[in-house]
Symmetry: C2
DNA sequence: GTCTATAGCAGGATAGAC
DNA sequence: GTCTATCCTGCTATAGAC
């Protein structure tokens, strides 16, 4: 039995992990199937027995990356990390530089509208998940929706713009401003 | 005299205008030099007597689009249009849909970090211009820098994320939240 | 300055052996 | 399921005629 039943799912996961890392950092057009497969220790020919095409992989990778990220945040919260610290970690130079698995919502935001329906709808679902997370983050009562939306825009937008800029001083100021305002918006009884 | 002295600059301007429209809406990889030249009524061969390569054109197009946009805003302000109306126009579904010449800062934000130094530094200069505009917008005294940064992130991020999303209801809520918070941040005596 | 023609390459997708 | 080999397309960039 050369290929045990667990082999295929495991391989698929390896491909997804490789794709999530590469796509998030380099965008859809910035990554070839060759690269994804090489990173996963395979060759291009093997790809099409796991995914229909590049676009499907992209959508799946975004979902995968986000699940990993949500899992991480849940663990942090369980371990007693404060909201302030989580926001600080998100709006942080290390995140912008792409260490580990960065946030696909931020890194790919203007990549998405050029992709197919399937990709946009995946992105939208992930964004909804983040929004719901912010609404209930570390509190029993639900936060105001619009305040959470504005906070999410400051987080995602802050990382996206900070990544584009070429001037460390401005990026640093930008992160500081986004941290301050988003935290204020996430105060439990905040209303717009 | 088959080519008058005004011919080349005019042609260059036609190419830039075509490039600004196409690149802003479709990103760097989403546009070919063929398309840009065809839109300008020329063929690909003529391109390289105006620009060194595709990357240079991209940087020049971002600068061109932004100058057009700043010109537009100055005219609006001179005509007595309020800041509220300007923000409303920016954070508006029509802008997201790409009518006329959309804002390159928003539409290309996550495209930029994958390009060369030249492009990133152009983007950074344009962003600095917007920031300075916000600091002095319709007031004699200078607004607080961090408040203006946060407002700019809500504007750029709001358009970028709104464009990615596939759900009109959420996009509409998102634009509303960004309008409300950014306007609040631009109140003349606002401090963080 | 603009054209047509072409060189050269990268990458998506498929075929067929193992 | 994975491999190698191949087809095919699209694109940047250049050459050379007008």
């Amino acid at each position: 039995m050369p290929y045990p039943a667990t082999h295929k799912p495991q391989t698929r996961e390896r491909i997804l992990n490789s794709a999530a890392q590469l796509f998030t950092k380099n965008g859809y057009e910035g990554v070839s199937i060759d690269q994804v497969m090489a990173e996963a220790g395979l060759t291009r020919g093997a790809f099409y027995s796991h995914f229909a095409d590049k676009s499907s992989l992209y959508a799946a990778a975004i979902q995968y990356a986000s699940k990993e990220r949500f899992r991480f945040y849940r663990a942090e919260l369980t371990a007693g990390v404060s909201i302030e610290r989580l926001i600080e970690g998100y709006l942080h130079p290390d995140h912008i530089k792409g260490r580990d698995m960065p946030c696909a919502l931020a890194f790919l935001v203007s990549d998405i509208s050029q992709r197919e329906q399937q990709v946009r709808s995946t992105y939208t679902e992930v964004y909804k998940g983040l929004l719901q997370g912010l609404e209930h983050l570390g509190t029993d009562e639900k936060r105001e929706r619009l305040a959470c939306i504005a906070a999410s825009v400051l987080m995602i937008g802050g990382v996206a713009i900070g990544r584009a800029l070429d001037d460390e001083q401005i990026t640093s100021d930008l992160l500081e401003a986004c941290r301050a305002v988003s935290l204020q918006l996430l105060e439990p009884d905040q209303t717009l």
